[in-house]
């Protein structure tokens, strides 16, 4: 030790000489910290502004208000079958199905075309095909459904709200460059002129895009494409994740932490659980495809298989968080319970678990939120299929919210779906933020009570 031989004055000088350098280091590190935070916030702000800028316009959509006439001249159809006395259920249903089939075969576009012509200024010249590009192609199914529900409409004129086509929406919103020539436009010149007239006289108005939430995905009628199917698919998957991952995860964490003897085996298990938490999600997808689809023969693209894969992914998160929460409980509480004669099970369930409840809840919500945003493993079990129906059960084919974003991102109508994709991202982000907010709220509330 040479230091001890220094005199007090020498030591003071040594400290003073180093002082400027230490202060500089401190200032540098603080500046670095501030720059890092600014950069991080800047990137997040950039991302959000971009998504908001693109996505918000997609929450409004062009609607077409038309007077349509169920003209008996255009709709040559038998009267709807009426249930005769003594007719069996099955007979009536088949007669009804036959009639519906007949209705479906009618050309409903003629009705819409007539409605559009009536709305256009007198003498406006436009071909039928060009005229029909203004309304979305699912309009004829909507009108037909109105008629199927109420066959008495034949001969009547009613006003309906229909969706304007995706290309109409693009033109009105300026998603497609309005200065481009005819060759580069999706809509013909007369159709574009008519849309502008419609917009001015109020036949086409902008309204909230309910279709985004009430419709399933659509390729034949892009303007009507919505998230309902994906939302339901995500709902089923999250239900499975919660039902399976929470009890299994919390149970194994309690056993490992409170009951399992400390041995090499439990150490090995612990290391492996930590490793599992770091495994990329695509690996879980491959595993899920091999085990759940090929071996257990679960249906392809069903939320059941997706939910199971996401459960596998979420388990380590919940186990690790629950164990950490249990570790944090003071040993005094355990000893007090045991000292009063409680069994180990009573000690855990009556005393330790209630204290850790807020942390376990938070971990669960965050784990579920993570699972909700997961895409890669779902692609491998066929959940990226085009599904145009709402899944009523977890074994029906479905897609999920993040996968829907991926699918819309690849849609060929770029002008329309760029905005829709961003809108779907906003919906997903909305769910994430809500879930995380609930987690924070519950934790602060429950912790106060505890």
């Amino acid at each position: 030790m040479t230091d001890t031989t220094l005199s007090a004055a020498e030591r003071r000088k040594l400290v003073r000489d180093g002082l400027a350098r230490r202060h500089l280091n401190e200032r540098l590190f603080r500046t670095f910290g501030i720059v890092a935070i600014c950069l991080a916030l800047g990137f997040v702000a950039l991302l959000f502004t971009d998504v908001l800028r693109k996505g918000i316009p997609a929450f409004t959509q062009s609607n077409l208000h038309l007077e349509v006439t169920f003209d008996p001249e255009l709709l040559k159809i038998d009267a709807a079958p009426v249930r005769a006395a003594g007719q069996s259920d099955a007979d009536f249903r088949s007669a009804r199905l036959g009639w519906e089939r007949q209705v479906a075969m009618l050309n409903w576009n003629t009705i819409i075309e007539a409605g559009l012509r009536d709305a256009a200024p007198a003498g406006f010249e436009i071909e039928s095909r060009q005229l029909l590009t203004i309304s979305e192609s699912d309009a004829r199914h909507r009108i037909r459904q109105l008629f199927v529900n109420d066959p008495d409409l034949l001969g009547q004129t009613i006003s309906v709200d229909l969706l304007a086509s995706a290309n109409t929406d693009n033109w009105i919103k300026g998603n497609i460059n309005r200065d481009l020539g005819d060759a580069q436009q999706q809509l013909s010149a007369p159709a574009r002129a008519l849309i502008d007239i419609f917009e001015q006289d109020g036949t086409i108005t902008q309204g909230f895009a309910w279709s985004l939430f009430t419709n399933v995905d659509s390729r034949s009628a892009p303007a009507s494409a919505g998230l309902l199917g994906a939302l339901m698919g995500t709902f089923w998957m999250m239900l499975i994740v919660i039902v399976l991952a929470v009890p299994i995860g919390v149970g194994s964490a309690i056993y490992l932490e409170e009951f399992a003897p400390k041995s090499r085996l439990t150490d090995l298990i612990e290391v492996n659980i930590n490793n599992l938490a770091a495994v990329p999600s695509i690996v879980f997808g491959l595993l899920g495809a091999a085990v759940f689809i090929n071996w257990f023969r679960l249906p392809l693209s069903a939320p059941l298989a997706g939910g199971l894969v996401l459960t596998l992914m979420t388990l380590p998160t919940i186990i690790i968080a629950t164990r950490a929460a249990l570790k944090g409980v003071s040993p005094a509480l355990r000893q007090a319970a045991l000292g009063m004669g409680a069994s180990r099970t009573q000690m855990v369930f009556h005393h330790v678990l209630p204290v850790t409840f807020p942390s376990i809840l938070t971990a669960t919500i965050i784990g579920v939120a993570q699972a909700m945003g997961e895409t890669a493993p779902l692609l491998l079990i066929g959940m990226n299929a085009f599904v145009a129906s709402v899944p009523g059960t977890p074994i029906e084919q479905a897609t999920a919210l993040p996968v829907q974003i991926y699918l819309w991102q690849g849609n060929e109508n770029r002008n329309f779906f760029e905005a829709r994709t961003s809108a779907a991202i906003l919906v997903l982000l909305g769910f994430m933020i809500t879930l995380n907010a609930i987690a924070i709220f519950l934790r602060s509330r429950l912790e106060k009570r505890a």
């Binding site: 199905l97 192609s137 390729r219 034949s220 009890p247 249906p299 074994i395 084919q397």
Partner: protein, 337 residues
């Protein structure tokens, strides 16, 4: 706490039970997978089918490329395998063998129309009027110069031919998981190699190697869909990308199409057979599933009906090039046997 534990245990048991009972049920939704070129058409028909036939459920359409579709299709027979494989090329012998090995014997081919493959560049870039020979010279790793095979020396299009724009060569082509790649090879590069006079005395293998070995520096192979190719073009406006005609048609505001052999690709020129790079589109129906999966036969017939894939049908509006009605009639007759 105890009740909660029991409740979750019961829920798990219920979920497990629900799963097993579901297996016994037969699937009532048609399951389709395969070519991403066919996917838009197939999805539209699926939706229309669901809307038109109240008694059947809307079919589910997956992607995965032609090869991926056949792999799933040939996995076997039963609820857990797909019913229809979409394809942008005919089934290969090796795929047929894989099907046979797994008990899929009754494979019914349905050809339902045509698709053009176009070369498109950024709408703001130069105009391209290409020939297969020029494309071969741009893309091949080794090209003939003065009767000898040398490493491809061209960096700009204008070096290949003075009529082409003076911009760096950059190409985005579909990767080999796409059926489009095979058509691209067959209809563009191979004829291009033939036209650019390869040196004599090459063996068949050497010739194939010259035709199929592409430059790594300027050629990007896209495994994803056309949106990915479009993103390449946006990132590097000099890139010339390979697209389906229908994709180009929906994005005419950002893309400019190249003329091939003096013919501009369009519905008309492909239908008339003037545009050289076109191919028929198919889907394959698993015969074993007919009568088992409800609506499979009806879906196939509906797909081929005039209002869907015929002239002026819904799919024409989405960019499909209809095939002559006689061909459709033949295909339908062969299917119904």
């Amino acid at each position: 706490m105890k009740t909660a534990l029991y409740a979750s245990a019961a829920a798990v048991a219920l979920a497990a039970f629900g799963t097993t009972s579901a297996f016994a049920q037969s699937r009532d939704t048609i399951q389709i997978a395969g070519s991403s070129t066919v996917l838009p058409f197939s999805s539209i028909v699926a939706e229309e089918f669901g809307a038109t036939f109240p008694e059947f459920r809307t079919p589910v359409v997956g992607s995965g490329g032609t090869g991926g579709g056949f792999r799933q299709f040939c996995e076997g027979v039963g609820d857990n395998t797909i019913d229809i494989a979409n394809a942008s090329r005919p089934i290969r012998d090796s795929e047929r063998e894989a099907c046979l090995a797994n008990g899929v014997n009754d494979i019914r081919e349905i050809q339902f129309g045509f698709d053009g493959i176009v070369f498109a560049s950024s709408a703001n870039g130069g105009d391209f009027a290409l020939t297969p020979a020029q494309l071969f010279k741009a893309i091949a790793a080794k090209v003939p110069v003065n009767g000898e095979l040398v490493d491809n020396p061209y960096t700009n299009w204008s070096e290949i031919d003075a009529s082409l724009p003076n911009q760096p060569i950059a190409l985005a082509i579909p990767a080999s998981n796409h059926g489009t790649r095979e058509v691209f090879q067959e209809k563009v590069i191979t004829p291009g190699a033939l036209a650019s006079e390869l040196p004599e005395g090459l063996s068949a293998e050497e010739k194939t190697a010259v035709e199929t070995t592409f430059r790594q520096d300027v050629v990007v192979e896209i495994a994803g869909d056309y949106t990915e190719t479009l993103a390449r073009l946006t990132a590097d406006p000099n890139t010339v990308g390979v697209f389906g005609l229908s994709f180009y048609d929906q994005n005419r505001d950002t893309l400019k199409v190249a003329v091939i052999d003096g013919v501009t690709p369009s519905l008309e020129t492909v239908a008339a057979g003037q545009y050289p790079v076109s191919r028929p589109l198919y889907f394959y129906v698993k015969g074993e599933h007919l009568g088992v999966i409800p609506g499979l036969a009806e879906f196939t017939e509906y797909f081929l009906s005039d209002g869907i894939s015929g002239n002026g049908g819904i799919l024409e509006g989405a960019g499909l090039i209809p095939q002559p009605a006689e061909v459709t009639a033949e295909v339908l007759a062969a299917f119904q046997q």
